[in-house]
Amino acid sequence: MTPPGAVQFCIRLLRRQLLLAVRRPLEIGNPLLFFAMVVALFPLGLGPTPETLAGFAPGVLWITALLSNLLTSDAVFRSDFEDGSLEQLLLAPQPLFMSVLAYIGAHWLTTGLLLAAVSPVFALMLNLPAQAIVALVASLLIGTALLSLIGGIGAALTVGLKRGGMLISLLILPLYMPVLIFGSAAVQAAVGGFPVGPYLAILGAMLCLAIALAPLAMAAGLRISIDA
């Protein structure tokens, strides 16, 4: 029986990761809850006047999306490392840089996509003007994919570390910044009535770059980490 081709294996891995996610519905709901809670905390911490809130809303929503991505990125390869699956993945005949895309894809589907889908609700809670909601969803869709890819690099580099702690946040938060800036700028532009296209185009260009390069970095990182 010949081993499955790279694409077929990728799909198998994606199904596996999604199945695992479905087995832990709480894990999926969790970024959403985190999102909800932080959005609820902000008015408490900042003082709740509606006008001020609306001004913050783009930034707050984007920062929350970023944090919740950061928190979940650490786990992308962790459990597979701990139970030995990662060793087996590295020994698989299929190219590793394609396999890791399946992990990132599953991560994005269960965090970024969901966040983007529910974000309009929170946007309304924070009094974000309606015309900005499309920009919010679009920028979150592209931006969270980018975040997942960047986070995957950090996760791959740190997964084998006994003494690493949450080193990952130090490694990837700086890399997250451009995404945050363009993402929240897009929403802010929409609030101000300016065109959103350029921001989304830049995010899209960054996403293309990341899709091309991040898998290579992740594959290299995993091969190194397993030997830490």
């Binding site: 029986m1 081993p3 198998r12 030995g84 699956s85 087996q88 698989a92 030997d227």
Partner: protein
């Protein structure tokens, strides 16, 4: 299982040296593993058996000197089981990350039945006992096509009947032109020749 030629080299190691934590574990280790051979790596606790297996299969890439050449697909079972606790044994095999062939449901069921997990195909793996957990991995041996098996203490947590069956399986794999390199602290009782590689004293044919 396709028939394979005995005597063809499947893995060659040349002058492997490894130092761990200031202790030299082995030095100038050279050997060739051919189809049809069963090797047992021996050595006390901490002798370097696991480290050697990881070098042979290619997981360790830094910190040792020497070359390893691999001529055939291999299957490595380490101390860890690579099972997802939340998946059932059936799913664990069907979606296995090792990138082997796509197995049909009957194939998986019969393999699980052969390792004594009939009736446990669809429970979450974290409810399995220690031995049952390891047995799921042994089912991979029944399914796999790989010529060379690298097994790190495959008898751990397996009961007596299970050990006997596993030994029979190893012998039949070797007889069919496969090759096995394994570690164990138990003496093997198999129908084929066993070659020993003792990390304390060196090679012994």
């Amino acid at each position: 299982m396709p028939t394979r030629d005995s005597g063809v080299p499947v893995l060659a190691a040349r002058s492997l040296c490894l130092e761990r934590g200031g202790r030299e574990l082995f030095r100038e280790l050279s050997f060739t593993i051919c189809a049809g051979q069963l090797w047992q790596i021996e050595g006390a606790n901490g002798a370097g058996k696991t480290s050697l297996l990881r070098i042979l299969c290619g997981l360790s890439r830094y910190g040792f000197t020497g070359q390893v050449e691999r001529f055939a697909p291999l299957l490595y079972l380490g101390h860890q089981s690579a099972l997802k606790a939340l998946l059932t044994p059936r799913e664990n095999l069907a979606f296995h990350v090792s990138g082997e062939g796509c197995y049909g449901d009957e194939q998986i069921e019969s393999a699980l039945a052969r390792v004594g997990l009939y009736g446990y195909e669809d429970v979450a793996s974290h409810t399995l006992s220690a031995g049952q957990h390891r047995r799921v991995n042994l089912a991979r041996l029944l399914l796999s096509d790989a010529t060379l098996w690298l097994l790190d203490e495959p008898f751990t947590a397996i009961d007596k009947a299970g050990v006997d069956e596993l030994q029979a399986l190893l012998a039949s794999h070797v007889a069919g032109g496969g090759a096995v390199v394994m570690t164990s602290h138990q003496a093997l009782d198999v129908s084929c020749d066993v070659r020993y590689l003792n990390l304390g004293t060196g090679l012994a044919a």
